[in-house]
């Protein structure tokens, strides 16, 4: 099980959402999943400053550090060359 969060990767990283820290309040967690941040979703990290920005599908989300630190992620595997 991964323990890395959105805060641990540099801009440009392609990631997969794995889950949320249990410390994240349920209503905030509800917001994130409404935007499509659910386990298994591929995302791209756009920036870490002034706040963390990611793209999910063709939408862009801005998350303050405490929230970004509660999103558990993994690096996405590059598709195998054909």
């Amino acid at each position: 099980m991964t323990t890395k969060t959105l805060r641990d990767f540099p801009p440009g990283a392609r990631l997969i959402v794995r889950g949320f820290q249990s410390t994240l309040a349920p209503d905030l967690r509800g917001h994130l999943s409404a935007w499509g941040l659910t386990p298994g979703t591929p995302i791209t990290l756009l920036a870490q400053k002034p706040v963390t920005r990611i793209s999910v599908e063709h939408a862009e989300l801005a998350l303050e550090d405490v929230i970004a630190a509660a999103v558990l992620v993994d690096t996405a595997k590059e598709p195998a060359p054909a």
Binding site: A34, G36, H58, A59, E60, A62
Partner: protein, 639 residues
Amino acid sequence: MNASIALVGQPNVGKSVIFHRLTGRYVNVANYPGTTIEVSRGLSRAQPGVEVLDTPGVLTLPARSEDEQATARILLNEKLRALVQVGDAKNLRRTVQLALLLAEAGVPMVLALNMMDEAKARGMAFDPARLAVELGLAVVPTVATGNEGMTALARAIADARVPVFRLTYADPIEAAIDDLALLLPIAHLSPRVVALLYLAGDRATEEWLAAQGTDLFALAARRERLQDEFTEPLAEVLQRARITAAEAIVHRVVKDAGSVGHGFVQRLGQWSVHRTWGWPLLALVLYGVYAFVGQFGAKYLVDLLEKQLFEGVINPWFHALVTTWIPWHWLQDFLVGPYGLWTMGMTYALALILPIVTTFFIAFGILEDSGYFARLSVLSNRAFKTLGLNGRAVLPMVLGLGCVTMATLTTRILHTPRERLIVTFLLALAIPCSAQLGVVMGMLASYGTGAFLIWLGVVIGVLFTVGWLSGKLVKGKRIPLMTELPPMRLPVAGNVAKKTWSRLKWYLEEVIPLFLIGAALMFVLDRLGFLPWLIQAGEPLVTGWLGLPKEASAALLMGFLRRDFGATGLFALGSALSPEQGLVGLVTLTIFVPCIASTLMIIKEQGLKTAAIMTGLIIPLAFLIGGLLHRALLFVGFA
């Protein structure tokens, strides 16, 4: 009552543009989530006598903020002939996720896949016909802004059928839905969807059930029993089931997911929130607005209209006309005297403020259409953090620069009552609306950049000091920033023109009567001897404390009616004021109570008591700051 057509969908997908296409009625549209706060109604062009409802965007149900609850209430209370979900074609997953809930509502439904142009521009390819089969309903690709697909949409709405679709949830959930369905009152929606909403804890549904006299204890017991079967909250379990199903459907429908665009506008969007480049870009935008509104509008155009046209041509002609044809001196005075309907009311409204608000509305419309405002939440988050808020608060604040009344309503997009209270208070205290800002800019422009910076510094200082205090005093927890940023788009000239016109129409309809009433009121007070008395009585405060000439009392009194009316009163004093006095007067008026319309809005949204407390705090504070500034300016020798 005739059944209506409701437009429902996620925020910022173009519902209001489609509403305009279907009804011909224009409602304000903008490139940020949360533009539509209340439900708008219009009559369908294609189906005579049928009402079309435009609703605030819902990301998902259950609703989380007050504007979203308005949409849930529409679904529960309106008898619908058709439900039109408007979805963003480039964000199919979330569009389908909401469709999976709505499709089970037992109401004829159509899915309008809007912004097809943006999906195509990003290289997305998918099969709408396949999606229609998967969801069992009509799917119509549209580009509402370009009027594409609208005929097909109108036809699909007329032919809409109840979707043949059912998403199977986990066994215990299905059992609970069947169980609840027996206890639920008859609704316009299927018992299944009412049960799903109730299980997810939707507040509007709970209120609706209570109003129907449902046995809430029996329902709650069943919901709790179901919750015991899961470790996660039910809302999330249901949501997850829909997302999983949506993903599977999207996977089957999409041929190419496309890529994030790298065009100039997209890059501009990235720069606008960049840790370094965001700031010079913001400075450039502010300078642009200042140059266009403060210099071109407030100086050049006002000079042209007020000095050349009104004072040079129209007013002397009208004055001669009135004095020749009207024998009664009091009536002459009423029309063209110092507080005359024409000389004060109309001249202020048309020659001083109209050019300023027109340029402001154009600049505002361009920025609004581009999506820049919502992106400001990233840069401003740290500043709002000190106020116990987050960057989302920037949107009502910036909109307040357009109209504080509308912005007070827009605070509904904020997620907690605490945030709403603080932002409403700060709007009332320190955010000048377009008309006032224009007059302020115009006056300050003639005093030089230094004066403008002092005004800006004092107002921002007050905003942050008072905001910081309110953040400490108002109970509740701060919510960290979490927001969606709309894509940056090139503003469309037609859109900006339409918006500017609809705002100008509002201005002409609302402000001119108020200016006329104001001028009439000032005339009557003057005649009754109250104004001279007040000017005398206010002398210690106005002259002694603020250091203004005693005539400025009249301007402050006018400020009660509308802050911009008061500021225009100062403007009209012209050279009777030194730059120092002008600056003190403008700062006092900027902080002063907001206009009557926005006070009424605060009462409506926050209650009479809160509104009274706010006003009671703001008025003394305005004079306190004005007086302190006067002393500070004298101390540093500002002339």
